[in-house]
């Protein structure tokens, strides 16, 4: 065999091997995805042009084994920037984001990045639309963090807490905290789930969680007190709602409102009674009362906005309401796409 023929054979062999490698390469990619060997690829767009995030993906890939050390160094830099104070909030966000991308299994950067968006940057603006966007970014950061760390309680809890404390969507809060308690977790999370349900108000569910807390630790005085309060004050109204006896339920809620006209939970309960009865105007009246009595009652404020929208009245815009409305629209769009696909 002369040299040219040899080279031709080797050339054909190379092409053949390259073609043969393709199905094997595809099979490996599939295995990595299905068996969970690949890193999740979901990337939250934090800033309009997420160049630093992309850079850190590239640098992270290049660093290979030292990504985690680089992430730790970057986190220290974030700390020093943090202590410089005003004017560095957005720069700090870039660094935080890079840290989450370099070491996605480190929980603290996810937690702090989300908190930075939903709390610190939130108060830097008065524009409710912008605030809603920042809350959404915080939520998305935590969801992305969960996709990397699905078997740890921390980020489920953080997300639940953001819904509880910032968005005041107590049902979502209870859902995410419920996910957190599937893993090793501190006890207070169970009580927070109960707190969430009592604010909705879903007293049966709240009671169920407080009962659970008590059975696990009979000396849990918070759960004990809350159980007594719910049974005495709110459970009768809740049962009457379930039976469709709304007038009696309203009277039952009134019993405690007569003693304390500004009691948040009683106002929520009364508004809930009218909402379930379909009397939206009355419901709005009580949600508005709750919102006026306690300025941090975002849940009541969001309810006011929601009911105004349903009644066709002028809607006061609150960040949490804008956020929740956006989420509803997104869900509706997704459902429509799925329906069309089917």
């Amino acid at each position: 065999m002369n040299n040219t023929v040899k080279q031709l054979v080797v050339g054909i062999l190379i092409i053949g091997l390259l073609i043969g490698m393709r199905p094997l390469s595809d099979a490996i990619s599939y295995d990595r995805l299905v068996l969970g060997y690949a890193r999740p690829t979901q990337v939250t767009k934090i800033l309009q042009y997420d160049a630093p995030a992309m850079t850190s993906v590239i640098v992270g890939a290049m660093l290979g084994g030292f990504r985690e050390v680089a992430a730790s160094m970057l986190w220290m830099k974030t700390h020093s920037m943090w202590h410089k104070g005003a004017g560095t909030q957005w720069d700090a966000l870039y660094l935080m984001r890079m840290t989450t991308l370099l070491d996605p299994h480190w929980l603290e950067p996810w937690r702090i990045t989300a908190w930075h968006c939903a709390y610190n940057l939130y108060v830097e603006t008065d524009d409710e639309e912008k605030r809603a966007e920042l809350v959404e970014t915080g939520v998305n950061v935590l969801k992305e963090g969960i996709s990397w760390n699905p078997d740890r309680y921390d980020l489920y809890f953080e997300l639940g807490w953001t819904y509880f404390d910032k968005i005041r969507d107590y049902e979502e809060a209870a859902r995410w905290m419920g996910a957190a308690v599937r893993f090793e977790h501190p006890e207070y999370i169970e009580r927070l789930i109960a707190h969430g349900w009592e604010r909705v108000p879903e007293m049966e569910k709240a009671l169920m969680w407080y009962d659970y807390c008590l059975k696990r630790r009979p000396s849990d005085h918070t759960a004990k007190g809350a159980t007594i309060t719910i049974r005495e004050r709110y459970l009768p109204a809740s049962r009457l709602i379930d039976e469709g006896r709304f007038e009696e339920a309203a009277d039952a809620a009134d019993m405690y409102l007569t003693i304390n006209p500004q009691a948040t939970l009683a106002l929520h309960m009364k508004a809930h009674v009218y909402e379930r009865a379909g009397d939206l105007e009355k419901a709005l009246e009580y949600w508005a009362l709750a919102a006026e009595n306690y300025t941090l009652d975002y849940h009541a404020r969001a309810k006011v906005a929601d009911l105004c929208e349903q009644l066709g009245w002028p809607v006061p815009e609150y960040a949490s309401h804008i956020y929740m409305r956006e989420q509803q629209l997104k869900q509706q769009r997704e459902m429509a796409i799925r329906r069309d696909a089917n």
Partner: protein, 272 residues
């Protein structure tokens, strides 16, 4: 076969006599041996940090050794003119290339085996201590498959280095050793991101068909080095199954065959 074995054997011993490689190895063993020290950087996630730094160091220093050794094997023979003696004997260029490659690979694997053993000892001593939760709500690490997975990760590292070594040896046939080292590093780093190129080649991500074709070519031609990285499964304690190991090893072997065949084409053309 005997000619390949002889060249490989000589290359292996010669590799161990190279001082700069011994320097890298000693430094690597020191870093790996003290990898538990870095765990203070992430309180509460010590076990994760130990695994990351330990296995990351093995990959990184293994790659350094493979590139620096691989790119020097043939140029040194040409520079010292010993290649003339070798090729004038009944040793073909293909045998010489394969002998150099396998000899170099044996050196790299023995180096990495030493690093791996060091890490395994550190892991056996420190991991049970770091796996204990330190406070309420601290993560409880499942370690059912961890010991086995670490051994498998080191084995996959051998396969990865076999590919890196082949690229380095063949690049040194085409370029000067410095340029070959740069090319090898470049291929290694870009190969770590091949999935990213695959993602960019998706019509939903990149609209331009020409750019998409270029990205797809890069994705198809470059080695997918991230396939050898199973740290994700170690951290989440998912078992690395043998069929996956087999597929990755087969992929590595095919890639080495392609690169060495290319090397043969270039080496055959080259005047020495």
């Amino acid at each position: 076969m005997r000619a390949i074995y002889r060249v490989a054997r000589a290359t292996y011993y010669e590799g161990w006599r190279r001082r700069f490689l011994n320097g890298i190895l000693v430094f690597a063993i020191l870093i790996i041996g003290s990898s538990w020290v870095f765990t203070y950087l992430q309180p509460g996630a010590e076990l994760k940090m130990l695994i990351d730094v330990g296995l990351g160091s093995i990959r990184f220093f293994g790659m350094l050794i493979a590139v620096f050794l691989g790119t020097r094997l043939i140029p040194d023979e040409i520079e010292k003119r010993t290649i003339y003696t070798l090729l004038s004997k009944p040793v073909t260029r293909m045998q010489f290339l394969l002998g150099k490659y396998f000899g170099g690979l044996a050196t790299v694997i023995s180096n990495v085996a030493l690093m791996g053993a060091t890490f395994y000892v550190v892991f056996l001593v420190k991991a049970p201590q770091f796996a204990q939760p330190t406070e309420e709500g601290s993560p409880v690490y499942s370690m059912e498959f961890m010991y086995e997975n670490i051994a498998k990760a080191i084995v996959l590292n051998f396969v990865e280095l076999a590919v890196v070594m082949a690229i380095a040896v063949v690049a040194s046939v085409v370029f000067s050793w410095i340029l070959a080292a740069i090319v090898s590093f470049f291929v290694y780093f870009v190969g770590q991101m091949s999935e990213f190129f695959g993602h960019l080649a998706d019509p939903e991500t990149t609209a331009n068909p020409v750019a998409r074709m270029i990205l797809l070519t890069i994705y198809r031609v470059l080695p997918h080095f991230e396939n050898f990285d199973v740290r994700e499964s170690i951290l989440t304690d998912i078992p690395v199954i043998w069929p996956y190991m087999g597929k990755v090893a087969a992929m590595g072997a095919l890639y080495v065959a392609v690169v060495l065949a290319l090397g043969y084409l270039f080496f055959n053309q080259r005047e020495v």
